[in-house]
């Protein structure tokens, strides 16, 4: 494939899901039992043959760094290229970047050094599988300036969504930044392809003109100036835009076809931690759940996602819950519609319940 560098925004749209991003960045939100959100974009890049990835971080990126390490679990611990963290860069006059454009500005030094012809830019707030090399092929075939990836689905109201209208040949002829009407739309999934040199010129131009928004100031008016094409991502796509969306996306992984699509064929890479295999006691009753390594289950678990090292006590009943790493659920507890962040302890005999549209959230390291 064409030589390509990847850039991932690990820290964008965090305001959508404050519960989980208070202690971490978007990309390091745990999902699906053993993964972090960033694993999907990063694995997609690796599986597309990309071997240089710049990871743009903002604040609270300790947990992200802990997860990514040297990049060896993604085969990105390399002498040439590999995984490169791009922490916020600012001179004396500036503070932390406030938007996508400023963040990209901070990455120009990295991009200038890259010898790769093409660049793929992706967010880390979504679960999907995509071979970016196909997008680049499409980009080259159309002789495009910019290719934006979209997914057709119904949106209820505008939620930082950018939607397109495309011509028959795939060229985008209109971009709405804040669509007012709902319905089935071609929604931007925040994956963009361009030639590296072209992107650098765009950024340079934006600095000169004092632009602040990539979508509003560059892409939307760019429709007439540049050849912008849309590439359709078919199949499963879920972006984590709220705690409720986080909740339902996890449960969608209980569906065999979704699981096959996301995890089948090509692996989703993640940090490995060598927990023992999951253990089911004599008294365990488990239905329709994902159970990770290191779990010890003595109670009942239904329609739930258990991350690594979770202990479910005797006679406890856990239904429709997401229980993150190293939680201890005491004996005779009754939990339903609960999202419990890492390292929490629920004492014996507690009953906790949320509901489908409003899960009960337990913060990291709580004792209840």
């Amino acid at each position: 494939m064409a030589s390509t560098v990847g850039v991932i925004f690990s820290s964008i749209n965090e305001e959508n899901i404050p519960e989980l991003t208070r202690v971490r960045s978007m990309g390091s939100i745990p999902i699906g039992g053993r993964y972090r959100l960033v694993d999907f974009a990063l694995s997609n890049m690796v599986n597309s043959g990309i071997t240089t990835v710049g990871m743009i971080t903002k604040n609270n990126y300790q947990s992200l760094m802990d997860h990514l390490g040297s990049g060896k679990y993604w085969d990105l611990a390399r002498k040439e290229g590999g995984l490169i963290l791009l922490p916020p860069y600012s001179d004396e006059t500036e503070i932390l970047y406030k938007n996508r454009l400023e963040a990209l500005k901070g990455a120009t030094a990295f991009l200038k050094k890259c010898k790769e012809d093409f660049v793929v830019i992706a967010d880390s707030d979504a679960v999907y599988k995509l071979d970016y090399s196909k997008v680049i092929e499409y980009h080259i075939k159309n002789n495009a300036d910019i290719t934006l990836v979209y997914h057709e689905h119904e949106v209820v109201k505008s939620h930082y969504y950018m939607s397109f209208e495309t011509a028959k040949d795939g060229r985008i002829n209109d971009i709405e930044i804040n669509p007012i009407s709902g319905g089935v739309k071609k929604n931007y999934v925040n994956v963009m392809v361009a030639r590296t040199a072209f992107l650098l010129r765009l950024i340079q131009d934006a600095i000169q003109h004092g632009y602040t928004s990539f979508g509003r100031d560059i892409l939307s008016p760019g429709v007439s100036k540049f050849k912008i094409y849309g590439y359709e991502l078919k199949g499963y796509y879920a972006s984590i835009t709220s705690l409720q969306k986080y909740f339902t996306t996890n449960f969608e992984l209980l569906d065999k076809t979704v699981r096959k699509e996301i995890f089948g064929e090509r692996d989703i890479y993640t940090k490995v931690n060598d927990s023992a295999p999951a253990k089911f006691a004599e008294t365990a009753k488990v239905k329709n759940s994902l159970i990770s390594d290191g779990c010890i289950i003595e109670g009942t678990v239904e329609n739930s996602i258990l991350f690594r090292g979770v202990k479910i006590g005797r006679d406890a009943i856990v239904k429709n819950c997401i229980i993150m790493t190293d939680n201890i659920i005491g004996e005779n507890c009754n939990l339903s519609y609960v999202v419990s962040d890492k390292n929490s302890v629920i004492r014996d005999n507690r009953t906790l319940a949320g509901c489908e549209i409003q899960p009960y959230f337990i913060g990291k390291g709580s004792l209840i």
Partner: protein
């Protein structure tokens, strides 16, 4: 700067493991799967890194492909080092003397130059077919404290089983006065665990002597240790208390797997202080829909059938209506609907067809005439067709 290592470990991983029959047709014994996500060699390698030993030579000979691939650069055990780390040592062609490893002592002898690169004071000899957790550093401390020339780890075994082991006859201070390899009438119940620490200079000396002895079988237990004892070297026993199991036979391999089950198991893998590392596969968490009782299930499983008292390896698919009882499934195994598996060990990449019957319930199976105490064994990558049947105690290594 002159660099050295205090202690270098040499792991004997060349054994054929013929008593594991179909499980070792194509792979070396240390590469055999164990406990749903591990391979036997994970235990000595993890023990090394958990004991602060970061230089390990792995001596391979028999069917090393899977083992070499698995050990790789040692990264899963943090043994990818710029100085030290894990090294696969295969027999090689030398200018004067070309040969396969002729025995455990000869294997080490042929790699003396590897050991000398690290200029160690001590050499730890390990074997690759035991399941246990041990702090070799404590044993090394005892060796140094006693100013011993050789320290042999040992543990108490039932006296009636003692004739299967190398037996140490010791004085009250722990010194060894006699070493008997598999004695018919054992005088003590202290069995050697096949774990030795040598003071390096003494090891080199006795390996040289042993190499020159044409009558020697080039074996530590039979030749080198008795020779050192006869020459009056200081040999100590080191008592190990804890779980240790030689998994050299089908029934002991089955038992060791079963020892992992239960909330308080005979052998605990989930304590976080001494983690057993492995090349963990990249599969999503296990999906459980069926009935799973008193069992282990590794990642990647799609479990819709019934599993009782069993160990289920990575990426196994157990379809609805299938039953797995008292069995060990190693990895990448598909059990189709209606199939029943009882008291069996099934190697990787096996497909069991619809309504196939594998083995028989324990109570019945143990009465069957077999080499495996009634355990049914299916070898790697075979397919059992729809309605196929494999009787209790049978060992199968081709499609049925």
């Amino acid at each position: 700067m002159l660099r050295k290592k205090e202690c270098v470990a040499m792991l004997l991983a060349g054994g054929q493991g013929s008593r594991l029959y179909a499980l070792t047709s194509n792979i070396a014994k240390p590469a055999v799967s164990f406990g749903a996500k591990y391979r036997i060699i994970d235990f000595p390698l993890s023990n090394c890194i958990n004991s602060g030993i970061d230089t390990v030579g792995v001596l391979t000979q028999y069917q090393p492909l899977v083992l070499n691939e698995y050990v790789g650069n040692g990264q899963p055990w943090d043994l990818d080092r710029t100085f030290g780390g894990v090294h696969i040592l295969s027999p090689y062609e030398a200018k004067t003397d070309t040969s396969w490893y002729k025995g455990t002592a000869n294997a080490i002898y042929q790699n003396i130059r590897f050991i000398q690169m690290y200029d160690p004071e001590y050499v730890l000899i390990l074997s690759g077919d035991h399941i246990y957790k041990m702090d070799y550093d404590k044993m090394l401390a005892a060796h140094k404290e006693a100013k011993a020339d050789c320290t042999i780890a040992c543990m108490q075994v039932p006296l009636k089983e003692a004739s299967r082991f190398g037996i140490l006859n010791t004085n009250p201070d722990g010194t060894i006065y006699e070493f008997e390899e598999k004695p018919a009438k054992p005088k003590s119940d202290l069995a050697s665990m096949g774990i030795y620490i040598f003071t390096a200079s003494k090891l080199f000396k006795y390996l040289e002597l042993d190499n020159k002895d044409p009558k020697s079988e080039k074996d530590f237990g039979k030749n080198v240790l008795p020779a050192m004892l006869a020459a009056g070297e200081k040999m100590y026993s080191y008592r190990f208390e804890g779980y240790w199991k030689d998994v050299g036979t089908i029934s002991s391999l089955w038992e060791a797997n079963m020892d992992l089950l239960g909330v308080v198991p005979n052998f605990e893998l989930s304590d976080r202080d001494r983690v057993i590392h492995s090349r963990s596969p990249l599969a999503p968490p296990a999906y459980i829909q069926g009935e799973v009782i008193n069992s282990l299930v590794a990642t990647g499983g799609e479990i819709e059938g019934k599993i009782i008292n069993s160990v289920i390896g990575t990426n196994c698919v157990i379809e609805e209506g299938a039953e797995v009882i008292d069995s060990v499934l190693m990895g990448n195994i598909t059990v189709k609907s209606g199939a029943k598996i009882n008291y069996s060990i099934i190697d990787e990449d096996v497909v069991i067809g619809e309504k196939a019957i594998i083995g028989a319930p324990i109570a019945e199976a143990v009465k069957a005439e077999s080499k495996t105490n009634g355990i049914t064994v299916l070898g790697r990558a075979i397919t059992v067709k729809k309605n196929g049947k494999v009787s209790a105690g049978e060992i199968v290594d081709k499609d049925v």
